[in-house]
Each structure stands twice: as structure tokens, then as C-alpha cells.
């Protein structure tokens, strides 16, 4: 691989990735109300003038879009590796950490438990 090719790959991938990130942030301005994912105290009220039904629907849908993407990312990262099954140890570790979290274990403990269970299973020869 020549140096020029390598520079081209890094430039195009870097600029493209940055473009994807920035365009989402810039396009969001065209949605009438602030997405306000958790609908907390700082929710910006929908402006009646610009708040078309489409805009309102999109605003309400966006937090779920992030949940859908993160769930899809977590599931594929837990179960698969380069288009194949990741084996048993990794999803077992993820499950252990998730259940610990649901049982109110501190976040750090739950994440470390996930890593620990996966590592321990592999040590036992279960991959």
C-alpha cells in the first residue's frame, strides 16, 4: 500500500465521517422543536407557527431513533464479530452485566462484571 493511497483513505474516511456527524447536527435545526430526548425540565415548547404535524411527529420519534440505533449496535456487538457469531462468552458477559444493572448494581460494577464473566468463561475454555 503506497503512502499516497493510505493518505487518501484516511482523508476520505475522515472527511466523510465528519460530514455525517456534522450534517445530522446541522439538519436538526430544521426540526421545529428541540428534540429534548428525555423530555426533562428544559424541554423547548413546540412553536405553534412552525410546528407542522410532520415536525412534531419527527421530534417525538427522534429519541426513539437513538434508542433503536444504540440497541442495534449493542446487540450486534454482543452477538456477532465480523459477520459471525461471537460465541458464548461475550453475550454471557453482556447478559450478566445487564442483569446486574437492572438489579441496581452500580454502573461501573455492572460493566466490570460483564468483562469479568466473559474473561472467566474464556479462562475455563468456554468461548
Amino acid at each position: 500500500m503506497s503512502t499516497a493511497t493510505l493518505i487518501l483513505v484516511i482523508t476520505v474516511l475522515g472527511a466523510g465521517t465528519y460530514g455525517l456527524r456534522l450534517s445530522g447536527v446541522l439538519l436538526a435545526k430544521r426540526v421545529p422543536a428541540s428534540p429534548a430526548p428525555s423530555a426533562g425540565t428544559a424541554t423547548v415548547p413546540t412553536q405553534p407557527g412552525r410546528g407542522s404535524q410532520f415536525g412534531q411527529g419527527l421530534t417525538r420519534l427522534l429519541p426513539y431513533a437513538a434508542v433503536a440505533l444504540l440497541a442495534a449496535l449493542a446487540a450486534t456487538a454482543a452477538f456477532t464479530d465480523a459477520g459471525r457469531f461471537a460465541g458464548i462468552a461475550r453475550p454471557a458477559g453482556v447478559l450478566a452485566g445487564f442483569v446486574a444493572g437492572l438489579l441496581r448494581a452500580p454502573f461501573a460494577v455492572a460493566v466490570l462484571l460483564a468483562a469479568g464473566v466473559a474473561a472467566a468463561l474464556r479462562l475455563l475454555g468456554i468461548h
Binding site: 484516511i10 456527524r21 433503536a68 442495534a72 460493566v111 474464556r122
Partner: protein
């Protein structure tokens, strides 16, 4: 600098000790992934300057692993296309958390570059706008710093720490993502969306190129159910903080 609200409180004070500890845990774990990236990429024979340049200019772990392995295999075009498909999820991410990135131009320009999964997830888990901003910037900048440091260490140690699976670090990332969206999984609509998204993504991973399955997870939105009319929706918004806590 990380605080984007225009007030002087640093993000760790805005967020409080609990979220700060959670964020630092994930930042530290990401540092180890950065070390393994640097070591693996170096082991494929890619020059050190390129390994580091990927981390600085692309700054998206999954696509970096994919790109260096495809470049090493002699497929630079596949490396670009595959990496961009894997990173396509950042566009809807940006739509969702633009309020956490900020409104001024420099915040959008800089904040977009530190948009990583963990920053989006931590921002989403916060109850109000000010804390979302603090969580987004604290996580994004923290991960940027440890990712660069980790890459340098990884390049230095070469192939000696090339297997993150040995320490179960590959299980830490999906577990952290799941725990961060857990409050939304307690709501029926959130659970339906996540279940469909996860099922579609995993099922299609075996036949589609990297990145597309995660984008197809957006099909989970079909399971959100009928969007409530405006008055009912306002009432739901008012209740949401309890449901999220």
C-alpha cells in the same frame, strides 16, 4: 471549555458524582480498547503515522478496526466504503442530540467530531438540557483524549496486548450501551423499539456488509406505536422524568 451552557460550572459539577464516575469508567475502558486498536493496527504492518492519523481524523473505533484490516488486506476502496457505512449512524445521532452539542458554530464544528456512541448514550440518559450538554462534552472530550493516548501506547507496545478479548473488554462495550438505554427499556414503547431494532440488526449481520444492519435497526421505529396527539403528548412529556429516573 467542556461546558456549553455559557455558565461557568464545570461539567463534573453539573452532572454530580454518580454520572461522572460512570462516564470515567467507560472512558477508562475505551482507553484500553484504544491500546488494542493501536497494537492490532501496528501488527498488520500499517505505518505508525497512519495508525495515529486514523484515530485523530476518523475517531470512530469500529470503522478504524474495519479500515485498517481492509487496508492491510489490500482493499483501500472497501475500507472507505465499509467505514462510511459503519459510521452512517452518526447522521441520525446528530439529529437526536444536536441540542446537547450546542448552538454556536464552533461548538457544532468541534462537538460533531467528538460524537461517539458513548457520548450520545450518556447525553440521552440525562434528564435535562444542561446536563445533556455536560454529559455529551465530558464524555466526548474524555474519550477523544484517552483514544489518542491509547493509540500511542498501543503503537508503542506493538502486538503484545493484541487480544482485548482475553480481558473480556469486548463484552464491556455492549453492556455499557445496554445499561445506558435501560431507563428507556422500562417504557413499553422503548422496549418494543429496542427489541425489534436488535433483532433486525443481529439477523441481518450475517448477510449484509458492516454498518447496514445497525442502520436497519431504525426499522424498530415501526414498533413505537401510534404517536399520541399533541395534548396527550404534552402530558406524557410531563411524566417522562419519573419514567426515566
Amino acid at each position: 471549555m467542556a461546558n456549553t451552557s455559557g455558565r461557568s460550572a464545570p461539567p463534573w459539577r453539573t452532572l454530580g458524582p454518580g454520572p461522572v464516575r460512570d462516564i470515567l469508567t467507560v472512558v477508562a475502558a475505551t482507553g484500553f480498547v484504544g491500546i488494542s486498536y493501536g497494537a492490532i493496527a501496528t501488527a498488520t504492518g500499517i505505518p505508525a503515522w497512519a495508525v495515529v492519523a486514523f484515530s485523530v481524523f476518523v475517531f470512530a473505533g469500529g470503522s478504524q478496526f474495519l479500515a485498517v484490516s481492509l487496508v492491510a488486506a489490500g482493499s483501500p476502496i472497501a475500507a472507505v466504503i465499509g467505514g462510511l457505512m459503519l459510521n452512517a449512524r452518526h447522521l441520525p445521532f446528530g439529529l437526536t442530540i444536536s441540542d446537547a452539542v450546542g448552538r454556536s458554530w464552533w461548538r457544532r464544528l468541534v462537538g460533531s467530531h467528538v460524537m461517539v456512541d458513548e457520548a450520545v448514550a450518556f447525553a440521552l440518559a440525562q434528564p435535562d438540557g444542561q446536563r445533556r450538554r455536560a454529559a455529551y462534552w465530558f464524555t466526548g472530550i474524555g474519550i477523544f483524549l484517552v483514544w489518542q493516548t491509547g493509540t500511542l501506547i498501543g503503537v508503542a507496545v506493538g502486538s503484545s496486548v493484541s487480544d482485548p478479548a482475553q480481558y473480556g473488554l469486548d463484552a464491556a462495550f455492549p453492556a455499557a450501551l445496554l445499561l445506558l438505554i435501560a431507563p428507556r427499556l422500562r417504557q413499553a414503547a422503548g422496549l418494543r423499539v429496542a427489541t425489534v431494532a436488535a433483532t433486525v440488526a443481529v439477523a441481518t449481520t450475517f448477510v449484509l456488509p458492516a454498518g447496514l444492519p445497525v442502520m436497519l435497526g431504525l426499522l424498530g421505529l415501526a414498533a413505537v406505536g401510534r404517536l399520541p396527539a399533541a395534548p396527550a403528548a404534552a402530558a406524557e412529556d410531563a411524566r417522562a422524568p419519573e419514567a426515566v429516573s
